[in-house]
Structure formats: C-alpha cells, structure tokens
C-alpha cells in the first residue's frame, strides 16, 4: 500500500526536480539582463519626472512604521541651484494598484509624473498612459521622413502631463473637462486641479490621492532623515 503512494510521488518529485534544475540554469543566464532592464526603467522614470536633474542614489527613512524611499536631485538653473525630489506612490484602481513616480521641487510643486505600473480597464482607465501620435503609416510610406525611421515619440500622455505645476502639498481637485489639452493648463492650475479620465473616476482618484499621500510622506521622511543627520553630527 505504501508502495502505491510512494512510487508515483517519487516519480513526480523526480520530474519536478529535473525541471526546476533546468529552470534555475535559465534563470541564472537571464537574471543579469533582467536586473539591468529594471534599473534602466527606473532611471528612465526618474529622468522623466526630474528632467535635467543630477539625481543621487535612493534614500530611505522610516515613516509611520514603514520605510519610505526617495531620490534627491540637483540642477543649476539661471545660476541658482534647484533641488528636486522623486518618490514612488501607489493607489488602488480598478485592476489593482497603480504605481506612479512623482517628481517635485523644493516647494512641493510637481515637476513630472510618470505612471509606472497599471492594470486598468482597456479603453477607459488605461488611457492614463495613452499617447497621441503625429505621423501616420501612409505619411511614412509616402517618404515623408528623411532618415526612414518614425520619429522617436517622447510625447507624454496628457493625463500625466497635466500634473506639472500642480501643488502636491495642497489638496488637488478633480475637474471634469474631458481630455486635457495645453489650453486648459492655466485655468486648471488656478484651481490646483486636474481633468479626470472620462468613465474612469476611480483611476483618476487613485492617482491623485496617492500623489497627495506620497507628498505628505516625503515631508515626514525628509524631516526624519534631517533629524537623524543632526544626531549623527553630534
């Protein structure tokens, strides 16, 4: 009776063992490349939200029982040294958590927002990463582009673009004006507001509230780090 259970179990375990051994070899081969990509992606986000800044390594400080990570950057503008801070925030959307990278200046005004990870409803919430295109395939075929390649499109999704200039330290309002375009910038910033995604109120709220929360945590984290720094100096 024991043999009836033992033999099949051993066979399955043997098969599983062989497979896992083979897989671990593949994983060892691909691991460095995967790590490189992850780092590249992070650096890309950082450069996007703090454009033109020299960004230092990640810093951590405990806030409200958890570790908060942020990056500090410096840039010379008009002869003055400007500081910027970047941090990652997460909010609950329709399809799980939405992760964004936010860059702010010393006063807490947003310099850039980049949504890193989202799983929102296609066609509705996931328009938060939608980019407009300029050239069409027919333009391309008709020989419109001299070097033969489609121009690299560094266009930012409008939903993320509109956060620039918003004060993350104050309450951010949500307006319903449809798809944002640059003409709306002045009037919305006067209200410290952003325009919501049509049909995806939860996606919009998730991003906005997570930015507000992240900013509050950043303030506390910097205070904690400064306090520790003062202690260390003693």
């Amino acid at each position: 009776m024991i043999r009836d259970i033992l033999k099949p179990t051993l066979i399955i375990v043997a098969v599983a063992f062989i497979c896992v051994m083979a897989l671990s070899q593949v994983q060892k081969l691909t691991a460095p490349e995967i790590a490189k990509r992850a780092l590249e992606k992070q650096q890309q986000s950082l450069d996007l939200v703090l454009p033109g800044f020299d960004i230092g390594p990640a810093r951590t400080a405990p806030v409200d029982g958890r570790d908060f990570t942020w990056w500090e950057g410096e840039k010379r503008e008009d002869g003055e040294a400007r500081k910027g801070y970047a941090f990652i925030v997460r909010g609950a959307g329709y399809g799980g958590d939405i992760e964004s990278m936010v860059g702010v200046d010393e006063k807490g005004v947003i310099l850039g927002l980049s949504i890193i990870q989202q799983a929102e409803t296609p066609g509705l919430g996931d328009r938060c990463v939608e980019v407009a295109h300029r050239e069409t395939l027919f333009d391309h075929i008709r020989g419109g582009i001299p070097n033969g390649d489609l121009p690299n499109e560094p266009l930012t999704p409008w939903f993320q673009n509109q956060f620039k200039g918003v004060d993350a330290g104050a309450r951010i309002s949500i307006a319903r004006r449809g798809d944002w375009n640059p003409e709306m910038r002045e009037s919305l910033l006067a209200l410290n507001a952003v325009s919501a995604l049509t049909g995806a109120s939860i996606t919009t709220e998730a991003v906005v509230r997570s930015v507000e929360r992240g900013m509050a945590l950043l303030v506390k984290a910097r205070a904690a780090a400064a306090g520790k720094g003062a202690e260390a100096k003693q």
Binding site: P8, I12, V15, C19, R37
Partner: protein
C-alpha cells in the same frame, strides 16, 4: 516527406481555434495588436514544440495515471523559459502580453496536443505537429488582430494609419473580439459546408 500532413493539418483542416475549438482565451485577449499576436505565436510555438518533443521522447516511460501532472510540469517549465527570455530581452513585449505569458500553461491547445498526439507518436512527427498547430494558431490570431487593430485603434503594428479617423474603440475591447471571432467561425463553417455540398 511522409510527415508533411502532420505539419500542414494545423493550418487549415485542423486549425486549433476555428476547427477543433481550443485556445480561445489567448486568441481573444491577445489579438489587440498584430505585434502582440506575432510574439504570442512565437511563444506558443516554442512551448508547443518543446513540450511535444520532450513528451513524445518520454512517452514510453511515463506511467499512464501520472501523465497529466507530469505533462503540466513539463509545459510549465517551457512557459517559464519563455517568460524569463521575454522579460530579459523583450521587456516591451513582456509588459504588453502581461499575464497571458504564464497563461500559456493553461492554453488547451498545448495540453490537448500532448494528450492527443505527442503521447502516441514519435518525436519527429510530434515536433511537426507542434509547429503546424502553432502556425495555425498564429494565423487565426493574426487575422483577428489585424482586423481589431485597424478598426479599433487605427493602427497596424503600432503605426498609425489614417489621419483624423476616430477608430471604433469597441473593436479593441471584449465585444469586438467576440463579434469578430464569431464571424470568422461563421465564415469557416460556411466554407466547409460549401465544400461538403460539392
């Protein structure tokens, strides 16, 4: 070669989606763009050929009542390899296909071919069967994806098509997928009926 039939049957006469009726989940969900369709097909062919190869090699030593968990383990291993390779060398594709890469494991086509064919046939015909089925899967996927991407996002392979045309977003979403596949199946049935009528 005498195994030509095994290679070609998967493309039309035994097309996995349109004739046998397997593999609908990835077909509908991944056919939002031609690029996704291409990469998914490559991944599925890799897993299908790999698992058919191993399973037909060991078919004589695998005890019958244990075959399902063993097949699943082998298939899952190949899927993991594809997952790691894509994450390392094609991160955009990896992000775009998302959860559907690990879901290749439960793609009925792969387990179906293992049960139906690889278990009972030699290595070479099993590999051909895998390639043929994979190509057939890919063709259906490609046609579906082309229709949906052009009508639903005004693009082909990611490149915008007609300036100023507002695409029918419903095609990119679930209803569009269901309707388009329904019409393709209808067309397939009509063509087969006409052949029989002759």
């Amino acid at each position: 070669m005498r195994y030509w039939k095994e290679l070609v049957k998967g493309i039309w006469s035994r097309n996995p989606q349109l004739v046998i009726g397997l593999g609908f989940c990835p077909t509908l969900a991944v056919s939002t763009s031609l690029s996704n369709a291409l990469w998914m097909t490559l991944a599925v062919i890799f897993v299908l050929v790999g698992s058919n190869l191993i399973i037909s090699s060991v078919r004589k030593i695998v005890p019958g009542h244990l075959r399902i968990p063993i097949f699943i383990t082998i298939i899952a291993s190949f899927v993991t390899v594809v997952d790691l390779l894509l994450e390392a060398y094609q991160p955009e594709v990896y992000r775009s296909l998302g959860i559907f890469i690990p879901l290749i494991v439960v793609n009925c086509i792969i387990l179906g071919r293992a049960e139906e064919f690889a278990q009972k046939n030699g290595v070479f015909p099993s590999v051909l069967d895998g390639i043929g089925m994979g190509i057939g899967f890919g063709l259906t996927l490609a046609v579906l994806a082309a229709i949906r991407e052009v009508l639903g996002a005004n693009r082909l392979f990611g490149y915008p098509l007609v300036q100023g045309m507002e695409p029918a977003a419903v095609m990119i979403m679930a209803p569009g997928a269901f309707f388009t596949l329904a019409f393709m199946l209808w067309a397939m049935n009509a063509i087969n009926a006409r052949k029989k009528g002759k």
